[in-house]
Symmetry: C2
């Protein structure tokens, strides 16, 4: 049976890897709709290659240039956020890949869910910021949302429970990032360049810094809470330096199921596309011979961001949006060289402390809280900087 | 829904652990039939406690004593192999646990399968000796046969494939036994007492010696071939000293699923009883924090038994029965102090070389081959001993 795919965020890292996976899967997988932010040149190439029925460019100022390049292709065009929403609802699509970065993925996700599509979800913010709202709307249908990141895909792959009460807990693995094992004093001297050297994964700068602070794992904890309907005390983080075990599910009978593999995003992407079947892929498999796998407690003293995420999730309401917004700015300031590494969690914690939490928020409330947190983080950031100068 | 269980081999190690698991599961699990070999005193206690509708004693000479002890219980009695077969077919049973030792488990297995029961299979010989016959009879229904040993249960737990072609290979883990790392010269001096000290599992003497020679893993490879319909080159053995990962399934998409847990036979027993659900158990779960898991190639030079098993499986026909029979005698001779440890695989190899393989055997052929191998092993054993004296 042919699967028809709408791909949102097609020119980004997950978007281009999704197309690679589709190339490998052959003719049973067709791209029927594409949506990109602003990279019209790459989108044009994708239109020529995949011949979608529809393509949207969110940053509409280059739409005419796009049309000129692909002149002759039978393709309908859309623009702006509405154009992207149309891609999410594209009638002939069975499966929508939500791969754009930021909370702009939230409305397309809702549109796709309401249209009855199956979802491959690579957009973290939708769940971190909007998870509670999705749940309240009754949209967190686990049979339709397939996480596209290695940890949550691993949990999905290990999850064979029919009933929630079969689950004891999950273990989300964390590589620990490039600074694992360092003390506060050592961490004061690390540079953005040091932080961007991730030992196991090739990723963008934001997520690589999040990985170094352990905030990435914190955001994943919040995602997991919503995706798998778990309480926070059922979610454990375990340091696993080798990045081979991508996560584990422990059942109430004392049995634990783990998913292992080489660190490669194409595995969770392909699993989301081919589920419930598995198909051949070009990803190298894990060869266990001669390997050693280690597991350790996270270091909460030197890497306090993880606990902040648990705290934000515990608070609920708009607090996860504040955690997310403040963290975004803190990472930007660190990358710009205006905030030291250790100050990232300090800044986030201060912004969280200043926030007046809305316990049962609407979409507009979480968007406002995220913006408020970004602005407040800039203010707090300059105060912190002055104090350190 | 109440599950009604017939338990064959109720007084053995797996049998008594099965009753422990049933105790923990509560009233939804009822024992409706019991069958034991000769331990009528323990069987009497089990009848008083579980109030089965039927109980069989294979060794019939103590049947009257049994009846006297349990006088007053509403229970029908059976005797001999026919009595055991009746337990396997017991009308009110949904699930039959085949937990007796030796090839005597084969006929009850066929009877239970033909009666449409679900099976919890702890009897190795049924598959090692009879796997090919079961397949030819179309009885190897994977939805009905649940393996009760840690490795095959692990594979079952990790196996979510709808189609066989989704599977790349499986990794059966092996602790390596007490002598792993030793050389031939060192192995010449090991005693039965040394061999009986298994690092991770509490088991009977036969299986503990099989674990020390790696023949246990060889027999498991043959079982896995039949249980999971795999070719021999899809079955890998990996040394894993910690006995935490009980086996792994590698899919064609490059993803590997592993089952982990403390070494405890109650886990596979309970999984076979409660499938497709999981229920709370008293088994301690695996806590990953602070653990290290290692994986290595088996040492085929110092532990050649594993290769002999692959060779017997490759030959097929009556050869696995010969491997099994020769190995039983070799282990008996080693335990009796009349064969050195290194001579176990030598003896088996010689008996296999002398065997005239029947490629498409009947049940009577494999029984005859097993007996022939036992007798031949005794002869070859005395020749080997003379040569060494």
């Amino acid at each position: 049976m042919i699967k028809r795919i709408a791909l949102l965020g097609s020119t980004g890292s997950i978007g281009t890897q999704t197309l690679e996976v589709i190339d490998g899967l052959g003719d049973d997988y067709q791209v029927v709709a594409l949506a990109a932010g602003g990279n019209y040149e790459l989108l044009a190439k994708q239109i020529s290659k995949y011949k979608p029925e529809y393509a949207a460019l969110v940053n509409e100022k280059n739409l005419e240039k796009l049309k000129t390049i692909v002149n002759g292709e039978r393709c309908q065009f859309g623009k702006g956020p509405e154009g992207q929403l149309l891609a999410a609802r594209w009638p002939s699509a069975d499966l929508v890949v939500i791969a754009q970065v930021g909370f702009s993925g939230f409305e397309p996700l809702i549109a796709a869910l309401e249209s009855g599509k199956r979802i491959a979800l690579a957009n973290k913010e939708s769940l971190v910021i909007g998870g509670e709202i999705l749940q309240r709307f009754g949209l967190l249908d686990r049979e339709r949302i397939f996480p596209v990141d290695s940890e949550h895909s691993a949990i999905k792959q290990c999850w064979t429970a029919k009933y929630q009460e079969e689950i004891a807990r999950i273990y989300i693995t964390a590589s620990g990032g490039p600074f694992y094992g360092m003390t506060q004093t050592e961490l004061q001297k690390v540079t953005p360049q040091d932080a961007l050297k991730h030992p196991n994964w090739q990723m963008g700068p934001k997520i690589t810094i999040d990985s170094a602070t352990m905030m990435n794992k914190g955001l994943e904890v919040i995602e997991a809470k919503w995706l798998f309907d778990l309480s926070l005390d059922q979610i454990k983080v375990v340091i696993h330096r080798q990045s081979i075990v991508h996560s584990m599910v422990e059942y109430v009978d004392g049995s634990t199921i783990a998913q292992l593999g080489m660190p490669d995003m194409r595995t969770p992407i392909q699993y989301a596309l081919t589920y419930p079947e598995r198909k051949k892929s070009l990803v190298r498999s894990y060869n266990p011979y001669g390997t050693t796998l280690t597991f350790a407690e996270p270091d909460h003293v030197n890497f306090p961001s993880l606990k902040l995420a648990f705290r934000a999730a515990e608070a609920g309401g708009t607090m996860p949006a504040v955690l997310n917004g403040a963290n975004e700015v803190a990472v930007e300031l660190f990358l710009a060289g205006t905030l030291i590494f250790n100050a990232i969690p300090i800044l986030i914690e201060k912004v969280m402390a200043l926030h007046d939490n809305i316990k049962i928020p609407e979409v507009s409330d979480v968007i406002a809280a995220n913006h408020w947190a970004r602005n407040m983080a800039l203010e707090v950031g300059s105060v912190l900087r002055e104090r350190m100068d």
